[in-house]
């Protein structure tokens, strides 16, 4: 139960940043993104399809990411999302904002080596 509430709170402020960061290195499909969030947060964060896909579509609409159907032999085709150059700029600024925010929180809450 506790995990779920963290989940919801964190997602609100940071979902866009998470998605953009995950697409920074290489294009990924939706399921892969949701798995990576879960794995890298060691299960603390989870994105279900119901919120993940609308968010992807929203980012795509803003022109930050771009989806493309790609086929690989022996599989059904999947829609891969990649970061656009505009998305890259947004990511850089959001990342900077997030770091400033986290440092400020840390200074207030006194957590030194988190």
């Amino acid at each position: 139960m506790e995990g779920q509430s963290i989940d919801r709170e964190w997602k609100k402020g940071s979902a866009e940043l998470l998605l953009l960061s995950l697409l920074e290195a290489l294009p990924r499909h939706g399921y892969e993104i949701s798995k990576l969030i879960e794995q890298r947060s060691q299960g603390a964060l989870r994105f279900h399809a119901a919120s993940l896909y609308p968010l992807l579509y929203r980012l795509e609409k803003r022109g930050w990411i771009q989806g493309r159907w790609v086929e690989k032999s022996g599989q059904r085709r999947r829609r891969y999302y990649r970061l656009t150059s505009q998305g890259r700029k947004v990511l850089a600024s959001q990342r900077l904002g997030w770091q400033t925010f986290v440092e400020a929180i840390n200074r207030i809450t006194g957590v030194e080596n988190a």
């Binding site: 939706g30 399921y31 279900h48 399809a49 119901a50 919120s51 896909y53 609308p54 579509y57 159907w69």
Partner: protein, 900 residues
């Protein structure tokens, strides 16, 4: 496996997403659900548990629907697939189709541009030719009730449409009851003096009845009164609108002014309307009775008079024909010497003007139609390729319940939209092309002033473009609508059915076949024109300058003065440096002017009219054969001593010699000419192809008689020299001497203008104008078809190479050489081309027979032409195959195999 699609679609149901977008989202989420489902199962969940969790996560307690609504609601809705039921829905569907079609075309600018260009060429060419057909053949003549206007010809044993003797015209007019009235006219040039620079102007002698018959009301003033059209009446004149504007600056006070025409003072009584389409070159009109000529009063002579009648309402053309025939029978009884064997023939005025050009124009309509079909086949191929790429879209629509007809309708709307766009460009091309072609081939078409783009042409273009859109859109649309949703969605964007390749092949073969036909037609026309240029006209056409000369009105006043004027004029002109010899003739060969004279052997009286024969008649000066370089076969030509004081002499051509004196020497024999009497033959010259390089051999009158100008009796002198032509053999380029000739001809009184200056080569070229016009257009059409066909082959082969990348990679990996790969691809393409060429050759053999009448010196089934055409097209096809084949050899086997 659960049916994720169905489940997810239920959740999206309320969102009203565009079908294509919805299908995309459904697919992506279903993919996610399935991945999650598998993961859960491999983690130990039961099948039903895994399904429940996966679905829950997707829907997130309506979260998905809420979020999607927020994101997707700003989208422009794509057409909702309706199954057309009521009329209202049908219209709504059409609007959607149009909007969607616009967007689709805008999204693919390259495709749209290429397709539109090809179609615009096809539609533009068709519009141009139709505007010609419309202006020349279809549009009624620009007179009130034009269908009741009939041209009436005399018929003789030699001519089915001869000009009319003026006394016969007067009798017809008096006796006939079928016509409201009958009018007559005759081309005549007038020497216009006394108002600045003397000028030779084209004009007409017209009967006072002519304008009322045609229904022409003058722009200014009035028509001629009957009393002005009487011998001895004071001369009245009417001016064309153009002449009034040009020479008199549209002077509103022109009426009542006195002009000097051929040394006669004529009072202007009217100005004709601006848009008058009658004898458009004519600038002044004078009552025919003002023509002071014996010829006008002689039943035996037919001085180029043309007659037009207006049928009374309710009288048929057959009744008029019967009546005029019976009048002619009466005249033949009354005047056997001149009228025996003569009849009359009535023809609708429009048919008389344009009927001869109909086969040529219909040929061009056919040819240009082929060009459009080639363009359509090309665009159809483009659309086929695109419909393969859009297969998923159609499959999704089908999956969402679109009926096949509905998808076909959508696609046809798109293709019609495309062709309508092309039509608007085509209209511009047509306007521009028509004026270009008419400028390139002046004088080759009757009624050319009436050719233009009018509402009928617009309507035609609209109809053609809609038909075109359906024609080239149908096959791709049916192909697109056939998409099996399951198959298409599964195979993704890679799928391309075998049906498509077959259709592609058929289109390419059709293009090639039609190109063969057009090339064959163009080739045959080129050969005909080329062969005509090789025809020996019987004289040397190089370096001859011809110009018509109007003698000074003072000279024209007396026959003696005219006789004196010739040697002086020729002497002045011959002294110009560069002039080798100078002569005068009444008629120039190949110039569309002619003059015939009935003759008979011996010195006896004239036999009954129907037993005499006619010959071409030339009144010339002694140097004529030198100037023209017509060979003298026997005897001598004229000298300056052949004048009125010496016995009359003539020179005949070898056709007449063979005809009248087979195997004998004609020199020294006598023949008799009508009106002029007996004359001795003093020489024989070579035959000159007077009627035309092609038509002379088949002409009814081929005999030629030359008569010395100095022996023309006084009473005929002024007619004999009206419109005489100066013929100069020159050393330098003939036209370079024009200024000097103009100055010398003008003479000391400066009132002898020079007009209609042409080189003999220009005259010959003019005599071929209609053929050259046809040839020029066929070449343009054939070249367009050839280009489109080559592009078609190239497109199909390029696509084939892309499709076969994998196979070609394997072949290369297994050791196929570059040559073998090129051969493989080229063979595939050339097979299509060969099928097309074979079919095209068969069709060409059948179709070129239709143009046999336009050919000269070459058979419709000319093996050399067909072989050349096949080689040319084969060469283009080979090139079009070779370029993609070269690209195929560049396939890197590793890359090609990895692609899969």
């Amino acid at each position: 496996m659960p049916d994720w699609n169905q489940q997810i679609r239920t959740q999206l149901a309320g969102l009203n997403l565009a079908p294509a977008r919805e299908a995309e989202i459904v697919e992506e989420l279903a993919q996610h659900a399935e991945d999650r489902y598998r993961e859960l199962q491999s983690g130990g969940a039961t099948e039903s548990e895994a399904r429940r969790i996966a679905l829950e996560e997707i829907s997130g307690h309506e979260l998905l629907a809420r979020e999607l609504r927020a994101v997707e609601c700003t989208d422009v809705p794509e057409p909702v697939v309706l199954s057309a039921g009521s009329k209202g829905r049908l219209l709504a569907g059409l609007g959607q189709d149009l909007r969607y079609g616009f967007r689709t075309l805008r999204k693919n600018p390259a495709f749209t541009a290429v397709a539109m260009l090809a179609l615009a060429l096809g539609i533009g060419a068709n519009t141009a030719i139709f505007s010609v057909v419309n202006g020349v053949l279809l549009r009624p003549l620009a007179y009130p009730d034009p269908d009741r206007l009939l041209t009436i010809f005399e018929t003789t044993s030699e001519f089915s449409q001869a000009s009319v003797a003026y006394p016969n015209y007067l009798d017809w007019r008096r006796e006939s009851r079928s016509f409201t009235d009958i009018g007559a006219f005759r081309d005549n040039d007038f020497n216009f003096t006394g108002a600045g620079q003397p000028e030779q102007v084209s004009g007409e002698h017209v009967s006072a009845s002519l304008w009322p018959v045609l229904g022409v009301t003058p722009f200014l003033g009035r028509n001629f009164m009957p009393e002005e059209d009487r011998q001895g009446a004071p001369c009245a004149a009417m001016l064309s609108y153009g002449f009034w504007t040009r020479r008199f600056g549209s002077d509103p006070d022109i009426l009542g002014r006195v002009l000097t025409l051929n040394a006669v003072s004529c009072t202007v009584v009217g100005v004709l309307p601006r848009d008058l389409r009658f004898r458009e070159y004519a600038q002044v009109f004078v009552p025919i009775e003002q023509w002071n000529s014996v010829e006008l009063r002689t039943r035996e002579s037919r001085p180029g008079l043309q007659v037009i009648g207006r049928l009374k309402p309710g009288v048929t053309i057959e009744a008029a024909q019967a009546e005029i025939t019976s009048i002619c029978t009466g005249l033949a009884r009354q005047y056997p010497a001149s009228n025996a064997g003569h009849g009359a023939r009535v023809v609708r005025m429009k048919d008389d003007m344009v009927e001869y050009i109909r086969p040529t124009l219909l040929l061009l309509v056919g040819a240009v139609g082929f060009v459009l079909i080639v363009a359509c086949a090309n665009v159809a191929n483009l659309l086929l390729a695109r419909s393969t790429a859009r297969k998923r879209e159609f499959a999704i629509r089908a999956a969402l319940g679109a009926k096949r007809g509905r998808v076909v309708r959508q696609l046809l709307t798109e293709s019609v939209l495309l062709s309508l766009g092309a039509a608007s460009i085509g209209l511009l091309l047509a306007r521009w092309g028509t004026s270009l072609v008419l400028a390139a081939a002046p004088g080759s078409l009757p009624r050319s002033g009436e050719i233009g783009i009018d509402p009928y042409v617009m309507l035609f273009t609209l109809a053609v473009s809609i038909a075109t859109g359906v024609l080239f859109g149908l096959a791709p649309a049916l192909h697109g609508a056939n998409a099996n949703p399951q198959e298409s969605l599964k195979e993704g964007a890679r799928g391309a059915g075998g049906g498509r390749h077959r259709a592609e092949g058929v289109f390419v073969a059709v293009e090639v076949g039609l190109a063969v036909i057009l090339l064959a037609g163009a080739g045959l026309m080129m050969q005909s024109v080329w062969r005509l240029w090789q025809v020996d006209p019987g004289f040397n056409t190089r370096n001859i300058l011809t110009t018509q000369v109007a003698l000074s009105p003072k000279v024209m006043a007396s026959p003696a003065a005219i006789r004196l004027a010739f040697p002086q004029l020729l002497g002045r002109v011959a002294a110009i440096p560069g002039v080798r010899s100078a002569a005068i003739t009444s008629v120039v060969p190949l110039s569309e002017r002619n003059s015939e004279i009935p003759y008979w052997p011996g010195t006896g009286p004239q036999p009954a009219q129907d037993r005499t024969t006619s010959a071409m008649f030339y009144i010339v000066t002694p140097d004529y054969p030198n100037a023209m370089q017509i060979p003298l076969r026997r005897g001598r030509f004229f000298t300056d001593r052949d004048d009125l004081a010496s016995p009359p002499v003539v020179v005949i051509d070898d056709v007449l010699a063979k005809h009248l004196f087979p195997g004998q020497d004609p020199v020294g024999r006598q023949i008799s000419l009508i009106v002029l009497g007996p004359a001795q033959i003093v020489g024989v010259v070579g035959h000159v192809k007077h009627w035309g390089l092609d038509s002379d051999d088949a002409a009814k009158i081929r005999d030629q008689i030359y008569f010395p100008v100095l022996q023309v009796p006084d009473k005929f002198m002024s007619e004999a020299v009206a419109g005489l032509t100066l013929v100069l053999r020159t050393a330098p380029e003939p036209l370079s001497l024009v200024p000097a000739v103009r100055a010398q001809v003008a003479g000391p009184t400066r009132d002898q203008p020079v007009y209609a200056v042409r080189t003999m080569e220009q005259i010959i070229s003019g005599s071929l104008a209609e053929r050259r016009f046809t040839m020029l257009l066929l070449i343009i059409f054939a070249a367009t078809a050839l280009l489109l066909a080559a592009v078609g082959i190239y497109g199909v082969m390029s696509y084939a190479v892309t499709r076969r990348t994998h196979e070609l990679g394997i072949r290369t990996a297994l050791g196929a050489s570059r040559g073998e790969i090129v051969g493989l691809v080229v063979r595939q393409g050339m097979r299509l081309a060969a099928i097309g060429m074979a079919a095209g050759l068969v069709a060409a053999l059948a179709l070129t027979r239709l143009m046999a009448g336009l050919l000269y010196g070459v058979r419709a089934a000319d093996p050399a032409t067909l072989a050349t055409v096949t080689l040319l097209l084969g060469g283009f096809a080979l090139l079009a195959c070779y370029i993609p084949a070269r690209r195929a050899t560049a396939v890197d086997p590793v890359v090609a195999l990895r692609c899969e």
